[in-house]
Every structure is written in C-alpha cells, then in structure tokens.
Symmetry: C2
Subunit: 210 residues, 2 copies
DNA sequence: TAGATTGTTAATCGATTAACAATC
DNA sequence: TAGATTGTTAATCGATTAACAATC
C-alpha cells in the first residue's frame, strides 16, 4: 500500500470501475488479474500494482471478487455519497451536460444552472432551473455545492473559476479551452475538446495511410 | 530529432498550439523556453525536448519565433488542410458538437449527421443536415470523409465504429462511455465524460478539506 | 496437498530534469 | 566579443513489467 497514488493510477480507476460494472451486469462473480488484463488491454502486473495502491482486495489462488472490487473502487473514487453540481453556462455544451444521462448512476446531479443571458433565465433544461449569474455565489454557499461545471466561453472562464472558488467550490470540471489559474486547494479536471480532437488529427496525419 | 514521438509529447502539442495562438494574438514576437515554461507550468527543459522531437525550430541566444513555432506545430498536428467529419448520433451530445464553435479555427467541420430517430431525419443542426443511419456508409465513401464522431448510446457505439471502419474511416472521436475494439489501422480518441468527472470526484474526496 | 493467483520486491523501461557545449 | 539561449547528451526519477515467495 503506497503512500501517494500517482496520477496515472487515478486516471485508470474510472476505467476499472466501468469494466467491473459491466462484468457484474454479465453475472461474472470472480476474475483474475490476467483475465481482467486481457479484457482491458493492460498487463496483469499493472492491475495488481494499481489495486494494491489501495489495499489487498484479492485472494491468492482465487483472484478478485467482481462485486467486492467494484464496490471498493467505487468507494476509493468517492462514490459513497451523492454530490451536487452547479452548471455555469447554459449554452450548447451546458445543455448537453444538463441532459447527460450517465451522471445519475454515479450519484452526481446538476441542481442548478446559471447564465448571463436574460432570455434563458427562468427556463429549465431537463428539470434543471436556469438562474441569473448574479445568484451564483449565494446559491453555491446556501446549498453547499461540491462541484462547479464551467461551460462558459473561454473569455469568461477564468472569472467564473474565481467566483466559484470564492464561493467555496473546491472541485471544477472545466469545458472552456483554457487552463484555469486556481489556488492549490482547488482541483480542476479539464475537458479540452479541441485538444482531444487535435490529438486525433495528429494520429490521422501521421498514420501510414494518411 | 527522435524516431518515434511518445504519446505524452503528442498530448502536449495542442496545449502548445493554444498558448502560441494566444501569444500571437497578444502581439508577442519571440519567446524563450523559460518564459513559455513559466506560462504553461512546465519546465524549460521539457519544452526544448518536446520541440526537438520535430526539429530545431529555435535559435540560440534568441529563443523561438512565436508565429513560426505556432505554424510548425500546426503543421505537425496536421492542420495543413481541412478535414471533414461525420457525426453519428444527433442527441444532446451530438447537438453540442455540431454547434461547437471552436472547430472552424482548426480547419475542421461537421458536414453531416446521422441518426436512427426518424423524427430527426431531414432536420438541420446549425446548418448540418441530419440523415438516416442507413445512408452512413454511402455518404462516407462518396464524400471521402476523414473523421467519424461517435455520439450514440453506449450500446450502439461498437457497431457504429465497425460500420465507420468498413466505410473506410481511419480516425474516430468517441463520446460513448466504452472502449471501442477497432483494427490497428484505426485511431480512436476517447472523450469519456464520466471517467473525467470521476477523476475530479477522487480528488475532491481525497483533498485535505474533503 | 497441489494448483492457482495474489501481494510485493526487484529489474527494466521510458519520461523528465539537469547540465553544458554549440552557436546565434 | 560577451551574453543569452538553444540543441543535445547525461543523470535522475517514476512508472511499468517481470519474477517469485506467500498463501488461499
């Protein structure tokens, strides 16, 4: 059991969780590191190392109990309670997030959206009310919000992050194509869509057929 | 100049490109590896190593010409010509992508969308016509499409990937929360939204205040 | 008990950082 | 020329892989 868990391991955890959920749904009870490695395209060694960052959840001669391991990884990821999120920006990206169906299974929900566009305020997106941006800090503080989703244009993203941070938000999911400057007590995970697409472009341009 | 470029370097290229575009817009003409490192939160050494995977674009005693370096990295990423993309799935995610404004600057455009929902077929999303899924292969072949965007539900994603591959697509941008099984001539870049959010959840749950 | 498979240590590999000669 | 900064080699660090004793 290591002291600090590397970022590489943390980024693989959701993937483990996904595969284990799928195995559980298929009724698979036990799985060895070799079988899971084959399935996920990793090595058995890596899987055992990764899991042992958090403790020995397996059993020699048997492997891992799928349900138990899934539960443990869920706990490690923080899925022991529900988290409420606010969405800042009710544009196209914001709408897609508000309607994203997979959050519910993870115990996550968007409880309110905020936008500067007065014509949107008062409307709902899939049951999520859109409020004026001026209400942001008050709402976040009052409702003890955990996570802020930044889906505003690039030019407004840094200011949004600062407002969220001042209101006490410690976790931000950023869709704006910039790197936010935040204090070290704030965690940011970026979804840089253009960056991701450019990586694909690189591979396409450098493939044998390309 | 290295023979093979590591994935870590490739994933940093879009970030370099973003910062250089921004510097160029601010009228910055030259920049040293130290200045760029400070800006991007990397080390100067790493920046010089990264850039030298592709050739010596700098000048001793001077640094890098911002415009020239931006152009070079754009070329390396494959931004020398425009690429046409098809979007499979015109749901909430699909709509957000069709309307995403940042693609145009990158020389990328969505030329057609496909969906199984007959009530959507014939409509447009931000000028992108929605066609029936049965037309997919024919359209892709006829229009020499480069990139397929998979924005269908998880259960339909693998089949979509296979259809795109059979139609000759060699680059796929996948938004479905599964890992696609494709031949080695096909490049896939995933945008696993739930995975990304779970990483944020992990950080939130393991922070000192959490 | 014998077989299987983990947990864990050691070896390897690759990426990042440091150092410095080359050179603008 | 002197100063600055790259390009590149060497050193370090960290992550992955291999090996095997522990043990179910």
């Amino acid at each position: 059991m290591k002291k600090t868990v590397s970022d590489a391991v943390i980024r693989r955890l959701p993937s483990y969780y996904r595969y284990l959920i799928s195995l559980e749904e298929q009724g698979v009870v036990r799985i060895s590191s070799h079988e899971l490695a084959e399935l996920m395209g990793l090595t058995a060694s890596q899987i055992r190392q990764d899991i042992n960052c958090f403790g020995g959840f397996g059993q020699q001669g048997y492997g891992y109990n799928v349900k138990e391991l899934r539960t443990k990884i869920g706990e490690i990821l923080g899925m022991t309670r529900c988290f409420d999120m606010v969405l800042v920006g009710a544009g196209h990206i914001g709408q897609a997030i508000a309607k994203y169906p997979y959050f519910r299974d993870l115990g996550l929900r968007v409880v309110a959206a905020f936008d500067t566009d007065a014509s949107l305020v008062g409307h709902e997106m899939e049951g999520v009310p859109i409020r004026g941006i001026s209400e942001l800090e008050g709402y976040v503080t009052e409702h003890k919000i955990d996570i802020g989703i930044i889906a505003v244009p690039a030019a407004a993203a840094q200011e949004t992050a600062e407002r969220l941070a001042r209101a006490g938000i410690r976790a931000m999911w950023n869709f704006a194509p910039i790197d936010l400057q935040v204090g070290e007590s704030v965690s940011v995970v970026n979804v840089h869509l253009s960056d991701s697409l450019l990586v694909l472009l690189y591979h396409l341009s450098h493939s044998k057929n390309g």
